[in-house]
Amino acid sequence: MTRIFLSLSVLLVLTGCSSSQTWGWYVVNPMTASGWVNIKFLISGMGDTILISLIAATISILLGLLVALPGLSDKRGWRIVNRVYVELVRSIPLLPMLFWVFYGLPLIFRSMGLDIPIDPFWGAIITLALSDSAFTAEIYRAGIQSIAKGQAEAAQTVGLNYAQTMRYVILPQAIRRILPPLANQFIYIVKMSAFASVIGMQELTRRANELVVTEYRPLEIYTLLILEYLVLVLIISAGVRWLERRMGSDER
């Protein structure tokens, strides 16, 4: 973190020296009082970005499993349900889906006689979770299918039902193949959470937009914004690698 700020400071100094181009790094210069206020303002969106991403990822992980299971059924009908969901949801770009959820879903609720308002916070979470669930479902499906069929058969012959077979036999084995790509998917959610700015969520990108409007320094402010995401994603990546190492070392 400090190293990034240091290199940013070096960048400030270097570009500040150049005379032909009017850089405005002062807007995010932590050495000055106003620059520091701006930086604090930008970073203040971090909490919501993280919160939205975490909740959306949690929902997506549960929803993805729910969507994956019919895809593993012997019954064609169930598999079609899975295919339709995955193909449909996967094909919808995030921004239109966000608009649809935020502006459209409350109308659908109202037509059903339900008064469920959707605020930007939950609108963003629902959209991210839905969009991501198509991908997590495919991760689950691949992970579960990679466990040999004999495992389910053996579970059946010692009297376990479907739910017990999944819970005690299949998922514990599939999880080490599922977790690393799921964690990777979390990076996708963090980045896509930037779209929440469009419906007024006060997360990182929204803060940057607001500051740009008052300071007229898009390059400098968006550069810092990119660095903020970089830091977040690097932290998650380190977590993913740690997870992969742990999972790998557990193998037999």
């Binding site: 012997d74 040999a148 004999g150 495992q151 058969e153 053996a154 579970a155 059946q156 012959t157 010692v158 009297g159 376990l160 039902n161 017990q164 005690y168 036999v169 514990p172 084995q173 037999r252």
Partner: protein, 246 residues
């Protein structure tokens, strides 16, 4: 309980267009040991898998302990666990210890307490002569030991019938006898057994009935004595001459 443990009447099964089981009729009495043999692809494993409801059949009737199995591929609750199965590839749960492999079924399907299930597990581990491997993972055991754990896992469900699907085919030669010894001792205790195997020495020793299958049909049945000394069909003679020439 009726005297008949397993009854197959005119069972037919297809994989798409491929006719895997053709008009199979077979009766296994309680306590009887039946050995099914035949060339690979003859449908002998499929018969055993149908008895255990791992695969559906399309025509005919299969009754296990008097309960008819429908054509629906869903497991049949009444016979689950009453019919134990030992697989060629062991199919032990690699993420669980040997002990947990054995206690999972009794605890989750039979509702036994952990203490009861563990007591039972240790009893049957001793029965298959590996009392001291309970805390290891299956991957740390030899093939022969793994297969004996798999047998113990089936026994923990106190099954009335045990099915064996080529239990020694995946084993190194020196480990075959330790598994067969356990199977012989189970047979001596009166377990109803259906065994798909090429181990003709074992068949001679324990089988009450031999079943020879080829191309999805039961070609010949008979007592081992009759079967080995005086096979009737050409196909059976050819098969026996190939398998017994060593």
């Amino acid at each position: 309980m009726s005297d008949t443990a397993i009854e197959l009447v005119s069972v037919n099964k297809w994989y798409d267009k491929f006719h895997v089981l053709k008009d199979i009729n077979l009766t296994v009495k309680s306590g009887e040991k039946v050995v099914i043999c035949g060339p690979s692809g003859s449908g002998k494993s499929t018969v055993v898998r149908c008895i255990n409801k791992l695969e559906p059949h399309q025509q005919g009737v299969i009754r296990v302990n008097g309960i008819e199995l429908g054509n629906d591929p869903k497991p049949v609750a009444e016979i689950q666990g009453d019919v134990g199965m030992v697989f060629q590839q062991f199919n032990l749960f690699p993420h669980l210890s040997v002990l947990d492999n054995l206690t999972l079924g009794p605890m989750k399907a039979r509702g036994l307490s952990k203490a009861q299930a563990e007591e039972k597990a240790r009893h049957y581990l001793a029965r298959v002569r590996i009392p001291d491997q309970a805390d290891k993972r299956p991957g740390q055991l030899s093939g022969g030991q793994q297969q004996r754990v798999a047998i113990a896992r089936s026994l923990c469900m106190e099954p009335k019938i045990l099915l064996f699907d080529e239990p020694t085919s995946a084993l190194d030669p020196e480990m075959i006898s330790e598994v067969l010894d356990v199977m012989v001792s189970l047979a001596e205790d009166g377990m109803t057994m259906v065994v798909v195997t090429h181990e003709m020495g074992f068949a001679r020793k324990v089988a009450d009935n031999m079943v020879f299958m080829d191309a999805g049909e039961i070609v010949e049945t008979g007592t081992p004595e009759h079967f080995f000394t005086n096979p009737q069909s050409e196909r059976c003679k050819t098969f026996l001459s190939q398998i017994l020439q060593h």
